[in-house]
Symmetry: C2
Subunit: 327 residues, 2 copies
């Protein structure tokens, strides 16, 4: 029996499981696979490449499944024309993260797409609701890639209380299995958004080397900071930082960020070369704290089904236990 | 219908809710009130005061309720005779946190008490299991007071998987209501340990000023670090740091810990005076990330009953929903 929530009703999907719009590694293949399995796949796009977006949205339109398209809000503000391309593909939802959604909200909503806003604080949630957000994603610091400092177990109930039932709240950060989905439902969330778990899927466009590093990583082997953004010469606005696997490059520069900035030209050259060579001792693998729960690289559909059925089993186990709420 | 778990069975209590051994503010009054309400109260003791421990254990023995006694392990190692006083009071369990439990485990277990070990990493959990721990507490960085860096949603499933059903795992850090208890059960925990929530209770020996500050604090207004330990001239071993409310003193020294160390004599005098004067602009109020969920100072029994009944309601709501697992 699927887990029905206000989120599954609003998006018209079977499972309350969303895949995160991870840079350009969350392409049409991944989004389509997640949606075909009953979840809700969200296309990435990173810092905005028009040709990439046109190509991937065309593939999604051809796949005949519901899908979302995600943007880094402060980056979209520099190339607002990308939103027209996105909306032209008739996404069921547009997800905005990391910035004020207000300038883009009317266009998204008048095109008939749902507005999903990812937030990391109560103030951001208020801003998103004011802009007309239909769904809030409460993202904890456990999340891979960019995010902020509040933990999932702290920010999820805070945003649930703030939303007060007006819109569904989706939990993100540190979730990779059915236990996590079931736990987030208990906190009042109506679904989950997963990045790292779908990174280690067959349809993700990440490199095999990176996927393997995620599978091999143990819990506790990620770090959040600005070292990789500085090394790539991408300066994010505060309070956002990136969570990644700890590698040699991270170990070398942790606590020495100012020095890194002062050595930027040389580091940037070294870093770009390492990235080109897929040398992940230096190049970043963005990943969340849930890495310890991830040990394989299955098809995305299997991930959706595994998480849904594990969560259903946990919830039904409690429902059907005759005498007590055994744990 | 109470939530029965392997933890409630092992401790012989009604609710899977433990109160944390918070310094000397978790005295006999608080522990007895929690246990009388069907939870499991754990006496504090801080850095070890023989007269205090004798007085408080005598009160607990007279209260005719089950109880535990908690120690800071590295501190107990300096005054091991305190363990004899503790065991003489016939606690149902002794809780050891922050250090190797091995030197104390045989004495505790041969006295017939359960050994509860609080851990923050997998290595610490292995060490505790090797020492014969009967119960593990997986503590996330959200917890108030001393702890480490891994988040609750990360460390709880990791320790549950490591324990593999051999011993009950209790979740700590960021939990203050029935939603948190229900969520932790989904992650595989068998109960929860709460500190900050019981700090803001009538029976806690903390000052009224501190309790009021906890009630007024919003989510996201705590910080973890060493500023207050340095200011009190108490040097903790790594990886442990303390989470507290952010106040003027924290804001003044955050990021300037070395400078604080260099100014120690003067700061220590100023700090001690502020503490004496209950000036919490300078003196510490240890508190966890769950402060945003705490808005009142009820009797401890009411806290236990409120959390238990909220969690039971959430779990039963799912059990009794006829058509779907609505969220």
């Amino acid at each position: 029996m699927p887990i029905e929530t206000s989120l599954t009703a609003l998006l018209g999907v079977k499972h309350p499981i969303l895949s995160a719009p991870m840079d350009t590694i969350a392409g049409a293949r991944l989004a389509a696979a997640v949606s075909a399995a009953g979840g809700f796949g969200i296309l990435g796009g990173g810092y905005g490449d028009k040709a990439w977006l046109e190509r991937e949205t065309a593939k999604l339109a051809a796949a005949s499944v519901p899908f979302g398209i995600g943007f880094i809000t402060w980056s979209l503000a520099k190339k607002p024309e990308l939103l027209d391309i996105a909306l032209g593909a008739k996404p069921r939802a547009v997800m905005l993260s990391f910035g004020d959604p207000k300038p883009f909200a009317p266009h998204i909503k008048s095109a008939g797409a749902r507005l999903i806003c990812q937030v990391q604080t109560e103030d951001m949630a208020r801003q998103a609701l004011d802009a007309g957000a239909d769904i809030l994603i409460a993202q904890g610091t456990e999340a891979g890639g960019h995010g902020a400092s509040r933990t999932t177990i702290d920010i999820v109930p805070a945003i649930v209380d703030l939303a007060a039932g007006r819109v569904p709240v989706v939990a993100a950060g540190g979730i990779a299995d059915g236990r996590g989905l079931a736990a987030m439902l208990m906190l009042g969330a109506s679904g989950v958004l997963l990045g790292t778990r779908f990174y280690a899927s067959q349809e993700c466009e990440g490199t095999e080397e990176a996927k393997k590093l995620i599978c091999d990583a143990s819990s506790g082997s990620t770090t959040r900071g600005v070292i990789f953004d500085l090394s790539r010469n991408i300066i994010w606005p505060g309070p956002f930082t990136g969570r990644s696997l700890v590698n040699d490059h991270a170990r070398r520069w942790m606590g020495r960020e100012i020095e890194l900035l002062q050595n930027m030209p040389a580091v940037a050259v070294e870093y770009a070369a390492a990235r080109e060579a897929r040398n992940f001792d230096i190049a970043v693998v963005f990943a969340g704290e849930a890495v310890g729960l991830i040990h394989d690289i299955p098809p995305a559909a299997e991930i959706v089904e595994r998480i849904a059925s594990e969560a259903e089993g946990i919830l039904l186990g409690r429902r059907n236990s005759s005498a007590s709420l055994q744990a």
